[in-house]
Amino acid sequence: MKKISGAEAIIRCLISEGVDVLFGYPGGAIMPVYDELYKFQKELNHVLVRHEQGATHAAQGYARSSGKVGVAIATSGPGATNLVTGIADAQIDSTPMVCITGQVASYLLGSDAFQETDIVGISTPVTKWNYQITKASEISEIISKAFYIAKSGRPGPVLIDITKDAQFDMIEDFEYKKCINIRSYTPTPTFDKSVIQDAVKLINKSKKPLIVWGQGVILGNAEPEFKDFVEKSGIPSAWTILGVSAISTNHELNVGMVGMHGNYGPNILTNQCDLLIAIGMRFDDRVTGDLKSYAKQAKIIHFEIDPAEVDKNVKVELAVIGDVKETLKKILPLVKKRNHDSWVCKFRELNKIEFDKVIDKEYNKEHGGLSMAEVIKSINENTDGNSILVTDVGQHQMVACRYMNFNKSKSNITSGGLGTMGFALPAALGAKIGDPKREVIAVIGDGGFQMTIQELGTIFQTSSAVKIVILNNEFLGMVRQWQQLFFDKRYASTEMTNPDFVTISKGYFIESKRVSKRKDLNSSVKQMLSHDGPFLLEVCVEKEDNVFPMIPSGSSVSDIRLE
């Protein structure tokens, strides 16, 4: 049998795993792999990003829109360390990703060689698994394990570091076997029948139940089962920011978002329900507010794949551990068909108060500077609810996720747990490549946009038809809002003197337009959406608007403020 190099073995492994695109950046210690990528251009599309952080976020965007494992590749040293933010983001938001880094030759390890860094040590706390390959013979087994671990159970990032000599070494009898189990790893814990019965009992006898669902529903491909469960049980359902789009925005039992900038109804009624059914979510502090006053009156059932999440932040009455698609299937025939009309009405009444005090004023604004909300309104009016929204981090993120209409799952891609500014632009590029048929709209603040602005180059080079909306308030808006509310308006280093984004966009040969008047907004959004190719729309919005409702950090969910 023909001998092949370790580098070629890596490529063959990726192809066998069904990888069709990699996001990366070459450099010394990964050059043998790039040399093979040159030979396999037909099979593998390599997207040259402009900074390795962009490679990870693009891989995340790709994974979240396609449901497949995203792959990022970089060289040793700074190439590898630049991946760390994206890896940490993928870890906390459970995104399946495999990162491949080059490493100095094995005989140089520990000698502080040029571009040597201990990336396995550095990435350990933020990876689901990592490993350093020093022999070509290990490549096949380790890469198959990497993909299996990244996508199974609760997904997450895996980093594989490969020394340069392992890439050069020749191996005989290359064979790729997909990993199907690891004896020390239980991706999907099994559940007891009795747990299902206990859950059903609690659900069937509850009078004021509330469902809070998260991204687990989407990651578990459980949208149909979830919808059936919601509709049969008639239980009002609220979403975390990563869970949105699992059922449509306009569904009659969708009562809005929970958490710091969530909706009035579900936040207040969290502290009045008698049963809280948490599905594929992890009680993040941005969701729960003060734990000492979070849903204390309620019994809590937690549907969760990761046993370590159970009782981590909130003590629960009952944990239904397992794959949510399976557990919901088992629950469904046993729950009574009910409706909770008067209870659902309470959510509507409270959300009406929010509509009058907050939403109507910013979503249907008629005078004064443009609000972020009316930009999302214009996007809603010109799309069918089927586009993918990619957001960065800050005020624009909260506004976009609150107001965007979703009719389809896997439509909201944002940095939730880590709150990584600079996420959106490269993630949007990855999302578009992951699902090219769908419209991808990146809504980004002026601050975050400038953290990964160089990826405009990648968007141009790959002709990715990403629509970029910059909501420019010339402030780091969310920090400024906190300074206004909690630091007596001392605006320390939050005001930004920005460059001309339209000119910058032109420099990258990307069509662009600036809009600052209400009368021009809708036509500009239309122009952006009808343009064949990438487009950047800068919208100059009111400088000192605040995002409400808001649960001040450390307060109870029921102390949510409308102004």
Binding site: P125, K128, W129, Q132, R183, T186, P307
Partner: protein, 172 residues
């Protein structure tokens, strides 16, 4: 919540980097590791870490779940002192001259049920295996005679009830 001493027993694959992966879980939560030992376990190729921490029950449960979640960790158990048989070993290096000049030393060794491991022309080494209080007691008694070196191992322990690790391995 009240803090107490817990023995965490971790069965793992034998891979480079696992110690780092396990210890970062304590680091992230600002938990001090009181002692740590690792050795091959009763099952070939399976390693066993024994980590001693002084934390609340709630903390130890969470930490154990996080360790259990790591890919190459096979199983994790935690026990209180009452549930385990545990020991530490201490070595005391003393000047040879004091062994002959200070008769009291020989009594101390006898009373403490310690052993003399080796006697050289310029020093001798005493070994004591037992509970922390016993090795500490001997330390206090020998200190006045001039200790050249003193070292104590991490705690090793076995549990009173079985941990059934082989069953877990076979079941997977």
């Amino acid at each position: 919540m009240k803090k107490m001493t817990y023995t965490i027993s971790i069965y793992t694959e034998n891979n480079v980097g696992l110690l780092n992966r396990v210890s970062q879980i304590f680091l992230k939560r600002h938990i001090n590791i009181a002692s740590i030992t690792s050795s091959e376990s009763e099952i070939p190729d399976i390693f066993r870490f024994i980590i001693i921490v002084n934390v609340s029950k709630e903390q130890v449960v969470k930490v154990v779940k996080q360790i259990e979640k790591q890919i190459e960790v096979i199983s994790v158990f935690f026990h209180t002192d009452k549930q385990t048989i545990f020991l530490e070993t201490a070595l005391y290096k003393v000047k040879s001259s004091s062994l002959f000049e200070e008769k009291q030393i020989q009594n101390i060794i006898k009373e403490s049920r310690a052993n003399i491991v080796t006697v050289k022309s310029d020093f001798f080494v005493i070994e004591k295996t037992g509970w922390r209080s016993e090795t500490e007691d001997l330390y206090k008694k020998l200190k006045p005679y001039g200790l050249l070196q003193f070292v104590r191992s991490g705690r090793i322990s076995v549990t009173k009830k079985s941990m059934e690790i082989s069953k877990i391995l076979n079941g997977k």
